[in-house]
Amino acid sequence: MTNLVRSNFQAHPFHLVSPSPWPIFTCISLLALTTSGVLTMHGFSFAQDFLYMALLLVIFTMSFWFRDVISEATYLGNHTLAVQRGINMGIALFIISEALFFLAIFWTFFHSALSPAAEMGAQWPPKGIDSVNPFELPLLNTVILLSSGFTVTYAHHSLIQGNRSGALYGIVLTVMLALIFTGLQGLEYTVSSFTLSDSTYGSCFYFGTGFHGLNYVAPYIIICLFLKTKKIYNIES
């Protein structure tokens, strides 16, 4: 290849991103989400309506931003190996921060449960809390959760091996298990006798399971986004 032809293409592998409105849009919508969330939790009138609007705004900006990233990656070919290394690093850091976040959640639980304070009756669950029997619905949900881990790993390895139907079946099964898990978790919320504000037990329970549920719903949304991308690709078979 001559130097003249080489100069038709970018000399370095890095992706110098073009000006984009989505960072500032994301900032604004996240600020709206936090503010309306705080107002909602403090019982301000109509704050909940603003919370839902802000949530929609966050989802919109995320979708538009992801759309741009998908275009840059698949159609413009901006994601060279150096760029992919950066993205891998970003995902790894995200997973580490998630893991540490859940470490904090477990820490609150163990802090309160392992040596219950006198204010809670020096017992765990605290006095007056009718706790969930872990061998009933939670056990079933654990089984479903681990099964979904199996199906998504099956989909992953099918994808690596070039087995398209295996990958699709694995993903569809995972989404179904995710929906069942989230439904059962919602059922558990409705039948449990305590609320978020019932002692540290209720706080720990809903904090942990709620954020775990959020982590379960987010991949579901991402998978839906991937299926939508597949549609953009116009792959019919």
């Binding site: 290849m1 130097n3 003249l4 032809v5 080489r6 100069s7 038709n8 293409f9 970018q10 000399a11 370095h12 592998p13 698949t74 159609y75 413009l76 070919g77 901006n78 994601h79 060279t80 190996l81 150096a82 994808l159 070039g162 087995n163 398209r164 139907s165 990958a167 699709l168 079946y169 569809v172 792959i235 019919e236 078979s237």
Partner: protein, 215 residues
Amino acid sequence: MLLRRSILALGRRTAVKPIVPVAPRVFTTSAARRAGEQGDPKPGEPDKKMMAFEDIRTEEDLLPPGAEPGTVPTDLDQSTGLERFEILGKMQGIDVFDMKPLDASRKGTLEDPIIVNSAGDEQFAGCTGYPVDSHVVLWLNMRRDRPVERCAECGSVYRMEYIGPPDDPHAHHGHGEEHGEEHGDGAHSYEEPKTFADFVRPEYRGTPQPHYRQS
């Protein structure tokens, strides 16, 4: 839709299944049939997925063939643009971005400087001395109109080789032309600050380099 399609395919397969057992195909013919179905190139034939690196001219040549329907696409099937450029280069053992560090097997001298290739008008190079990493990184700035630079710490000499597109003789070059001075693209009319390379005595300079500015 996925399930329905599979059931249909299953039904079709069952429907056309011959009741009379056919003679089993010998291995060689089945291999030939498979080769025909898959469309793999024969030895010596060009692969439609593989554009030879030398044949790439423009962005158009970096459009992918796309995967066969019903398969899991690979990067070679559907990557485009710079990503494809890099992959096609890698498949022929070419590092298209030239990411390797500069030649540090010797200390550059004015007679035999370390060559720094650059596609632009200006290039920074980080010197760590000889042997490698014998001092902290010192960044040297080379330009097309002053390509030689010498490290103030270890004295190693670098020279920028311009490998970008050739200049258009009809294009205007910066503001320097108005003042009757010779400058590269984006050049200015004020005098460049002198560098260490400018203060080497003539008797130590050896043969003058072609783009080297005599002070």
